[in-house]
Point group: C2
Chain length 195, copies 2
């Protein structure tokens, strides 16, 4: 949220260089001008953006995934998510990822909002979608993807968040949306999708 | 959340190497054994862990920071947070960061839980604390830290989340905690701190 007077906080680019071009991770190192005129280095991951989907079943349940996440060395319970392909529309990506990872196709979609995942060191933005009127089908996982689809009561998922069984930040942020939508405090604009 | 039968999801280390040792970002590339016996590479940021603090004022307000976050190129409204020093106790880190960044000292603290911030590519865990019975004082910012401290009504902060003015994932996850604590659904164990 930028205010008119944010010059006293803002950093501006002086010079940018590639820091890392791994098979998966891309990073840059920028020299920036600090608000007081001095300079500093900023190193960060360059990410194409992503989507996360809150798939609502008709009976107070949601669709989740259980997936081993190597960096944190554990199986995580999380909402379905995936990276944008270059130039991909976020809604198309959300529909693709939901079907590929869980097999579900949704007849109605709503855009909720966005989150920035790791603002200290990544450009990643995640677009949050709700999906409902689901039809089950066959997942189409990549050959190096291993995950389980799980239906869960929303009340049980909230309890898992409280007890520390759900610790994925994007999933916790989605729970904020889910609780406020269910309470009626936050409204969604649902859109019908053709088959 | 690991189940007895998670071998069909779990990846195991074969070989690890340093991928990046920047001044700020550290990354590794591990060769891992997939559940089906094949191998794959996993690249990820190595992070020391962090804390985030939800500082409660006595009048339905919280203490936030406005800070320019270079990777996302904007000023972000977020709860105070900071990285653990090597071997640092999370509660001590939380007390230190709150005082350094905002000037506030809290007489009561409660540990809420943890989140994993970017499970696809970072080891980062963030420990979530609540703080209350705050006394204002002078911040002690590092010379390259530029931020504003802001008091905000919790209801207004929730509205900012809904409208997309707050997009920081850790702050959204903290709002889930804050709403459930305020509603009485989630309980905290408060501890008194000496001076």
């Amino acid at each position: 949220m930028d205010y008119p007077s944010d010059e006293h906080l803002t950093e501006t680019l002086i010079h940018s260089e590639t820091l890392l071009d791994g098979g998966f991770l891309k990073a840059r190192r920028d020299k920036v001008r600090l608000p007081d005129g001095r300079s500093a280095d900023r190193e960060y991951i360059v990410h194409p953006g992503a989507v996360v989907i809150i798939p609502l079943l008709d009976d107070d349940h949601v669709v989740l995934e259980r997936q081993f996440r190597y960096p944190v060395n554990r199986v995580m319970l999380e909402f379905p998510a995936g990276k944008l392909d270059a130039g991909e529309d976020p809604l198309l990506c959300a529909r693709r990822e939901l079907q590929e990872e869980t097999g579900y196709v949704a007849r109605q979609w709503a855009y909720a909002g966005a989150m920035h995942l790791a603002i200290a060191y990544s450009t990643e933005i995640i677009h949050i979608f709700f999906a409902r009127r689901l039809t089950a089908g066959a997942a189409q996982l990549d050959k190096d993807e291993f995950l389980e689809v799980q239906k869960k009561a929303i009340a049980d998922l909230a309890e898992d968040c409280r007890q520390g069984f759900v610790t994925d930040a994007k999933t916790l942020a989605c729970m904020l949306w889910l609780q406020n939508v269910r309470s009626g405090n936050w409204k969604l604009n649902w859109e019908d999708m053709a088959g």
